[in-house]
Assembly symmetry: C2
Homo-oligomer: 216 residues x 2
């Protein structure tokens, strides 16, 4: 595999660092929708885990000689637009977003991490590791659907909206960042490789929707 | 010193656990007012530290055989009222609240912790330890006042409002919780002891306002 361009690595760590910061924000906001103090604390803990990851990426950017704020800046608009466009209006929508949205993002970053040199690859895989909170979202959403079947239809639509927004924002990010695009195309080998990458991510998304008891 | 009533210990750990949960919320909300990505990440890290403390208190409540949500419930109204009544409208107000408000609360809980048996006392002192973030607030507020002197007057008023709200809500909490009131009176020895406790807390508050460059 050809050595990844150092600036492409900084781009990837930058987008990921900002993604963790917005994930913190969003989880903290959704925590306030929790119907119980336990649920609120669970989401707050997920948020805290994200900011811990942000800190690790921040340090690594500094080691690369990059200014972390500058590395994050080019991605602020697209990620904010994603979150603005998918603001949950209920506790359950927030949980579906935490599970399905983060799952999508994690798969995407994990695929790209495979093209990085070992120290950066290991760091990215580490900050993407599930902190066990996915189980919480799955349990809560499944229990709610069992109590009220009509929720399944509404939350399935919501899941499809999340994936639509995620695709459109990722395309915008990649179209504007040639180095990231090159990293993906070179890493996957060719455009057919990119196609297979998208297929893997889509299949995993379908599995997650089913795990929640929703129609993909 | 007489052994503290176990239920009073649960009360204190309960109010503190809920205080950490609301501190998380509030810091996470204020992070969004940050003028820079660095400032936003700093406040998010403070929020994460609070939720870590919440987790420690949660565990200890379980060890005491208490249900953490039930232990927190009696204090939800007063603490929410404090935060509703002191919602910062600017980034600097948020920082003054983080420094002055948390300082007041910390001093108060630390005084009461002295009356607890060692394992609980040590835990409370540990979760109250400053995570180094106070320096950040002091630096930002002092720099802002140097740039614009008029801010000092406005932020001084804000500091006085914080202390007024804090006193009125603490009185409400103590008046409604006989075991906590007894813990404080027995611990300080008598009402004169309570008076000296309040004096120490007030003196420390005055010092903090001066540290920020504000009129107490």
């Amino acid at each position: 595999m050809p050595e990844a361009d150092n600036r492409a690595v900084v781009d990837l760590l930058g987008v990921l660092a900002y993604a963790e910061l917005t994930a913190f924000d969003r989880l903290a906001e959704d925590a306030r929708l929790a119907p119980t103090l336990d649920g609120r604390a669970s989401l707050a803990r997920m948020a805290a885990a994200e900011i811990g990851h942000h800190g690790r990426l921040h340090e690594r950017l500094v080691e690369h000689g990059a200014d972390p704020s500058e590395a994050m800046a080019p991605f602020v608009r697209a990620l904010d637009a994603f979150h603005e466009g998918t603001r949950p209006s209920t506790w359950l929508e927030g949980l579906v977003k935490a599970y399905v949205g983060d799952g999508l993002a994690t798969d995407f970053y994990r695929e790209i991490a495979a093209f990085l040199p070992p120290p950066d690859r290991d760091l990215v895989l580490e900050v993407l590791a599930d902190t066990g909170h996915a189980d919480f979202a799955v349990r809560e959403v499944r229990a709610a659907i069992t109590r009220d079947r009509r929720l399944a239809g509404r939350l399935s639509l919501w899941g499809r909206r999340l994936v639509g927004e995620a695709i459109s924002q990722s395309q915008a990010v990649i179209a504007e960042h040639d180095r990231l695009a090159a990293l993906i195309v070179v890493g996957t080998g060719d455009l057919a490789g990119v196609g297979r990458l998208i297929e893997r991510i889509t299949a995993a998304h379908t599995d997650r929707m089913k795990t929640l008891g929703l129609n993909p």
